[in-house]
């Protein structure tokens, strides 16, 4: 919402000319207190912790804390893994979204529910589930190990797997929504011009839904960047190979709280940057 929208919304609630009613805002035509008070409490609840982070930040020692090799290592690992997880999500998630949006098949509702499940599943449970599937003795991991000598748990690749597991549903849901909103008749038009379904997808649908894919990818990337539970369960917490920023923050909090705040500030800055980057194309569209 832009500030203008907020003002016009308030004007509707106030039921009169915007500037006067909003400023005077008392009596029957103003914003009712039973709504205003909880709303302000809610706002404070969301904003105060972030302010506290800024207030308590060790600004003076910040340069030293942030230039340490450990921080850069964790940050680099986080960025690389989140980006790789997003890439994995794109490669398999976009076709999955297309399947859910465009192809009628029995049990489609169930499949959609299964895809959405990691959204609401506690990430730790996801991590345990991944161990059962892809761990050394997991139902799939056993064969990966025996046939290809590939072990995923407690490796950097494992971090990517854990993050993709948690983040991909965000991408799928977002892209599927965009696909449903996109006019399928463009694909029909492409078909009448001789395009196979795949060509129509590649040359017509994909460019049309690119903004939705970008928004979904950013969502997934942000989710992957912050992923903690599934990562620590499936990939462990080894500095340099599986210790991402959220794990580093948690660990630092126990030994060096100042460092934890500094690391948190970095993640906050990345989040704000993402939000600012999305403001124009995404927030307004929503």
């Amino acid at each position: 919402m832009t500030p203008t929208d907020d003002r016009s919304g308030a004007a509707v609630l106030a039921g009169g000319p915007a500037p006067r009613s909003v400023r005077k805002g008392r009596g029957g035509r103003g914003v009712p207190l039973p709504l205003l008070v909880p709303a302000l409490i809610g706002l404070a609840f969301l904003v105060v912790p972030l302010l506290a982070l800024l207030v308590r930040a060790p600004w003076r020692s910040l340069p030293d804390l942030l230039t340490s090799a450990e921080v850069w290592q964790a940050l680099r690992l986080s960025l690389v893994c989140a980006t790789a997880a997003t890439a994995v999500s794109l490669v398999v998630g976009v076709p999955l979204a297309w399947l859910l949006a465009r192809v009628e098949f029995p049990g489609r509702g169930l499949v959609r529910a299964l895809v959405t499940l990691p959204l609401v599943l506690p990430p730790v449970v996801g991590g345990v589930a991944l161990l059962m599937a892809l761990g050394r003795n997991g139902i799939v991991g056993k064969w990966l190990d025996a046939w290809f000598g590939v072990t995923l748990p407690f490796t950097t690749a494992g971090v990517v797997v854990a993050e993709a597991f948690v983040a991909m549903p965000f991408l799928v849901i977002s892209v599927e929504g965009t696909l449903r909103a996109a006019d399928p008749r463009y694909e029909e038009a492409a078909a009448t011009l001789g395009a196979s379904r795949f060509t129509a997808f590649r040359r017509v649908t994909l460019p049309l839904i690119a903004p939705g894919i970008a928004a979904g990818a950013v969502l997934a990337w942000a989710r992957a960047l912050g992923e903690f539970g599934a990562t620590i369960t499936f990939a462990g917490n080894f500095p340099g190979s599986t210790q991402t920023m959220p794990l580093a923050v948690y660990l630092a909090l126990q030994s060096d709280p100042e460092a934890a705040v500094a690391l948190s500030l970095v993640l906050l800055a990345v989040s704000v940057a993402v939000l600012a980057g999305l403001r124009d194309r995404w927030m307004r569209a929503a």
């Binding site: 006019d183 008749r185 009448t192 011009l193």
Partner: protein, 362 residues
């Protein structure tokens, strides 16, 4: 359905291998489309009917976008019932054109040839040629949203024709245009359809579009063909009240000089619009006034001596079929018809106000 096909002009039945021979049956819930169509190459047929009659379903079935539940579909002797849309030699101009918004006009037109195997350069060369032919060379690089309605329509036509289809389908090709652009685009589309050597089928709910663009009308109501024939025949002998209302239009072709349009060697019609060159002139039957004797005090413009061929009742109106100086149809109230003592062979004077007639450039 057999009787309907039997009523089609003889030359269509004779050329069975060439052109379109379709019996489209699509059942969806309680709706059933059952339409037989035979169209010769070079012929333009308009499916005319109210909204929800099944015209667009018929068009989608021809394109392969809606599967047939029965019947058959043959184009130039080849069965197409099971052919997917991308493999049919069919071009479609959609109602709102569906130009790909992320591609330039040129790439929109090149899309078809490219999908059908042409190299990128060859496809673009073909596309440029088509855009040029439709007078759009200057807009080749424009994105669809930068094009006017008329330009977008022509790009859509170019895109459909660039694959060299054996069957061209047009869904309400003029519906998305404003009244002014419509006249211009209709005239251009008519020229392009006249040049098109394969089968063209267009869907419209606008009788004037149908009569100007098509050689033959097929009127569809509730999924069935209720009447088909050349426009003037249908206007003269509408089989249902709906058709009488819908296709009630006197339409002529002539040469305009200012406000006067000369129809061949015969009479002339004075019109609202001042044009020059070949035009269509149209006026509704309800705008015609009939007199038993040559009226005095009425200007001699648009006054013709006619003879009654027949009289038919449609709802609360009487439609008179007239020949003579200017063959035309006139709608009267029952009372008016009784006063005039209209009977076949009777002589009447027909007049129409210039303000009720409209001329369109061909």
């Amino acid at each position: 359905m057999t009787d309907l096909r039997g009523s089609a002009p003889a030359h269509h039945a004779a050329a069975s291998e060439e052109g379109l021979d379709a019996h489209l049956v699509v059942e969806r819930g309680t709706f059933r489309l059952d339409v037989a169509l035979r169209v010769a190459p070079g012929e333009v047929v308009a499916l005319l009917g109210p909204n929800g009659a099944g015209k667009t379903t018929a068009l989608r079935a021809l394109a392969g976008l809606t599967p047939l539940t029965g019947g058959r579909l043959r184009l130039d002797g080849t069965a197409l019932e099971r052919t997917p849309p991308e493999s049919r030699p069919v071009g479609v101009v959609f109602q709102d054109y569906l130009l790909f918004p992320h591609l330039s006009a040129l790439d929109n037109v090149a899309f078809g040839p490219r999908c059908r195997g042409a190299s990128k350069a060859a496809a673009r060369a073909t596309a440029a040629e088509w855009l040029d032919r439709l007078g759009l060379a200057a807009h080749a690089g424009s994105r669809p949203r930068r094009l006017s309605g008329g330009q977008a329509q022509r790009v859509a036509v170019a895109r459909a024709l660039a694959t060299r289809p054996r069957l061209l389908l047009l869904d309400e090709p003029l519906a998305a245009l404003d009244a002014r652009t419509r006249l211009e685009v209709r005239a251009q589309l008519r020229r392009h359809l006249a040049e098109f050597e394969a089968v063209a089928v267009l869907v419209t709910h606008d009788p004037l579009d149908a009569m100007v663009l098509a050689d033959r009308l097929v009127v569809v109501e509730d999924g069935r063909v209720v009447q088909e024939g050349v426009p003037s025949d249908i206007a003269r002998h509408p089989r249902t009240d709906y058709i009488a209302q819908l296709v009630g239009l006197n339409l002529y072709r002539g040469e305009a000089q200012g406000h006067v349009v000369r129809l061949g060697a015969g009479p002339s019609v004075t019109t609202t619009e001042a044009l020059s060159g070949p035009v269509f002139v149209a006026f509704p039957p309800s705008s015609v006034t009939l007199y038993r004797d040559r009226p005095t005090g009425v200007s001699a413009r648009n006054l013709w001596r006619c003879e009654v061929v027949g009289v038919e009742t449609h709802g609360d109106r009487i439609r008179a079929d007239l020949t003579g100086e200017l063959p035309l149809v006139a709608d009267l109230t029952t009372v008016g018809a009784a006063e005039l003592e209209l009977h076949p062979g009777a002589t009447v004077w027909a007049t129409v106000k210039a303000t009720q007639t409209h001329a369109y450039p061909v």
